[in-house]
Symmetry: C2
Subunit: 569 residues, 2 copies
């Protein structure tokens, strides 16, 4: 039985009830979006009390299915002004599931800075003045002093408290390192509700029970084996997502470089997984592999320390290396690790931040490649430096203020690192996804049989991957496991359906995922339409249709009429 | 009958005699190198009177064979301290041939700034104080006032007079635009001899007679048709060598960018042939095609004017666009055209200059992409600005002074625009050619059947193309015609042999070109050995073996032992 826990922060009223009606059987993004779409006024102020912040585990949360523990955070976004979901690893989904909770829906706003405790005895909101202004690292340390290591933590850094538009929602891994649901400024929504943290303690809870344990066991076993045998997953296990730096730069020519003016970066190898492996294998306390959540069999992350062995950061990912690295022409791994740590500690999205700094570099605020100046800018956020606040409000705010014409954003939110002029189905996703230009919303790299560079045929490809990844976001499945399954469409995708059916106690149809994803996306698109978006919002920035991207020499040239017909039939 | 005209500038003694002995039948680079190798002390000061400056037409000069009118200039180089040949278009070779002269060999040094007149009545050296300090454009204008349009002119700009190491020897086209024999600082050698100009007037001369006119006619006809039917030559006719910008950047990822730290440039399309076609077709007096010499059937050049229709430059080529453009991150065509004009007018090599400015940008002397600062630097050469003089002495001088570790040079001379980590046979050529890293010494682009990116097999490929292009340099054949012939090895290469035989009155063996090129290169290598060069000089700069070049992710990894064995057997 999966419950929804509703908390009205204005009144401290808490209630819990089984998911039912249209919400029954949903999880992850499908659930956050269903709640936001049906309960939030599309025209409301996303930073006002009428917005709803939803934290939801996926359908597979708490089960033995591998890599199924992602947590979705959803609300109306202050960056896109549309419906938004961002998901992260960490223990949130698992511990909520152990407590019988699939989603926490937070309405209203607290009168003072507060935290929310959830445990076997219920849920309660408490003032938390002692956490005011604390960085994410200090917040977790302070919470652990009080609540210990049986709990997991969901929180915002100072940027969330300040309601800055790039603010992220931060979660914690099994070993209390940080992960973020970064995109769309959902940390600002949490901050607007005066909620600094959610403490989830599953001590004393029974482990998640599911309807059909045998079917789950078989599906989980097949999936684990499928992931372990997948060559890309093996590569990710060895070098992590930084493996993708050289793939995207040297291999495909599609890595964001110098404010999206280039598709490859001369310093790519210096910030690659291959290079990062040096400090990870030689420095004290560094780890080449790390998992963000219980049940992960890929271990794509790492623990990055300095030469003395002190932690700098973890979850130091491809998107961060690209947006803060190549996109800003910064090629120093230690410098980038410090920037990543600062973003996590302040609680902001590294993608939006890297895009904003790239725009600021183009606009002359700081020099290309000047990592120290970027670091100083980030450090100025908490002290209210005006340039720093501009950056923390995102790349559109920064570019507009500086008069920069090349602003890499869709629906007010920055584009992720995968260049859409080279990856045109990804470009269609960036343009048309109700989420804005997320790398997780439907990215499609070229294969031996798929040419990403031609304009023809990209819309159906995008529609398929958008739908599929929306469905796996509902499962709470990590993106890489979803890719491993997609590459084994006949053998592993049915295991995803079988696992969901095992949780829900139903025999699900073979096209369950497509049905789930389609319904989800149509609901999101409808919300955005009601919020005032039109086809004009389903566009890449104009410069991408006129400026060729080197080294591939391509523009984005998928016909607009085709894009406008996506999800129409 | 082909004569060699010898002028001792120290004594004004002139003598003329048929080429004989080992020199008989030679032309172009084979002849300049044979003279320098046998008559110049390899240990001499290249800027002293013991150096010999040779100006020689190719074997096919003055004939009806298409594209056979290049002129070679040879001497010991002040940049490489080895034997050097650089060749150019223009009318020099044809007019010398019409006068029965294949080579002019200049020894000693004049006591004051002088010019050399060559016409049907003989040769004479005259003081030329009125030309002192004049730019190339003004020099040509002043000479035309005196000598008119029946003559052609070979000259140096102020840089040659100042004996700066990047100084070029300048020639004139049929319509008195400028072309340069740029590489190796041969203009400084001419300047060291106090020779400002050579005036070659063939009025009253009989047209070149050859031994076997019928064989020549057939060969010339086949070759013209072969060139006209070659798709690359058609492309060069349409867009000129700037066509290669997008090919090298977007297509192959092998264009010198930001001081050879990258193989593709975000601004490539802005400086491409496709983009240049805009101003060339819309501006008054601009021309999309232009030929540098009589007998050209490719017309790869152009006339670039400003918006008012005033001439800016001609012969605005790929190497210039790459070294001054992508290599310096300058993406403004009008700016680059002004820089090209300045280089021609001052009389310096655009390749060496672009490489030096790229190094200066890396060293902080000026900002990446700052075309105006580059223009100011060039303008400072004639007034003796110390930074400007550093640039004009080449990239090694600049990089050494600024303490830059990435200096893209071999044998003291800058590398051309084609990235050797991607084009590895070209890399072998750059490393081992006795000429240093010239793009004309043996460049090899990838084809469907040839992979330029692997270390294996590149040495024999380089040896073949080095030998072939040395031979076509002896013919006086332009590089593109040589490529068209090489792409039709069975049908057109025999036409080259037949044409040379028609001039020389001999039945030449089928492997004539390989014999000619091999003998030439071995003679040049021997000179360099006697000048003190060792295998250590046959190396690319070390950074190219350790720093990967993006977007291709390659280092230069051809085994040194293999390179050391080139031309050994």
């Amino acid at each position: 039985m999966a419950d929804i826990l509703r908390i009205d922060l204005s009144s401290d009223a808490a209630s819990s009830a089984p998911l039912s009606g249209d919400l029954a059987g949903l999880g992850g993004r499908a659930l956050t979006s269903a709640l936001v779409a049906t309960e939030v006024d599309p025209k409301c102020d996303p930073l006002g009390p009428d917005n709803l912040l939803v934290v939801a585990g996926g359908i597979l949360a708490g089960t033995s299915f591998p890599n199924g523990g992602r947590v979705s955070v959803g609300a109306k976004s202050p960056l896109t002004q549309g419906i938004k979901e961002a998901n992260a690893g960490g223990q949130t989904a698992r511990k909520l599931a152990n407590l019988g909770i699939r989603a926490v829906a937070l309405s209203g706003a607290a009168g003072e800075l507060s935290l929310l405790e959830i445990d076997v005895s219920g849920a309660r909101v408490k003032p938390a003045p002692e956490l005011k202004g604390l960085g994410s690292y200090d917040t977790v340390a302070k919470l652990r002093e009080t609540y210990g290591d049986d709990a997991t933590y969901v929180l915002v850094g100072p940027a969330g408290e300040m309601q800055l538009k790039s603010a992220a929602v931060v979660t914690t891994t099994p070993d209390f390192l940080l992960r973020t649901a970064s995109r769309g400024g959902l940390g600002a929504v949490m901050g607007s509700k005066n909620l600094k943290a959610i403490v989830i303690n599953d001590k004393g809870a029974e482990r998640t029970k599911i309807a059909n344990p045998e079917a789950m066991k078989a599906a989980a076993s097949a999936m684990s084996e499928g992931i372990r045998n997948h060559p890309i997953m093996q590569g990710l296990g060895a070098l992590g997502t930084p493996l993708l730096v050289n793939v995207a730069s040297a291999g495909i020519g599609c890595i964001a470089t110098r404010n999206f003016s280039m598709g490859a970066f001369e310093g790519a190898d210096k910030i690659s997984g291959e290079t990062m492996n040096g400090p990870l294998t030689s420095r004290p306390n560094a780890e080449t592999t790390h998992r963000c959540m219980t049940g992960c069999v890929i271990n794509c992350s790492q623990v990055y320390t300095d030469e003395a062995g002190d932690l700098v950061t973890s979850g130091f990912e491809f998107e961060t290396l690209a947006l803060l690295g190549s996109n800003c022409a910064i090629d120093d791994l230690d410098q980038l690790a410090r920037l990543d740590r600062l973003c996590d500690d302040i609680g902001i999205d590294t993608i939006e931040t890297g895009a904003a700094i790239g725009v600021a570099m183009e606009g002359g605020m700081l020099a290309w490649g000047d990592g120290k100046a970027a670091e100083a800018l980030l450090k100025g956020i908490t002290s209210g430096n005006p340039d720093s606040l501009l950056i923390a409000n995102g790349c559109v705010a920064t570019g507009t203020k500086l008069g920069v014409s090349r602003i890499p954003a869709v629906k007010g939110q920055s584009i992720a690192a995968w260049e859409p002029r080279v990856l045109k189905a990804t470009g269609v996703t960036y343009a048309t996804s109700p989420m804005g230009a997320d790398h997780t919303a439907g990215n499609m790299l070229p294969t031996e049989t798929y040419d990403s560079s031609v304009p023809e045929g990209q819309v159906p490809t995008s529609q398929f991957v958008q739908t599929y990844f929306a469905a796996t976001d509902a499962l709470g499945l990590c993106l890489f496991a979803a890719i491993a399954a997609a590459d084994n469409m006949d053998t592993l995708v049915p295991m995803l359906v079988q696992a969901a059916g095992a949780v829900l106690g139903e025999e699900l149809p073979p096209d369950y995922l497509m049905q789930l994803g389609t319904k989800n996306i149509l609901q999101e698109r409808d919300f955005n339409t009601r919020a005032g978006m039109t086809a004009a919002d389903d566009r890449l920035p104009a410069f991408m249709t006129t400026e060729v991207i080197q080294p591939r020499g391509l523009v984005f040239d998928v016909p607009e009429a085709e894009m406008d017909a996506i999800f129409a039939g």
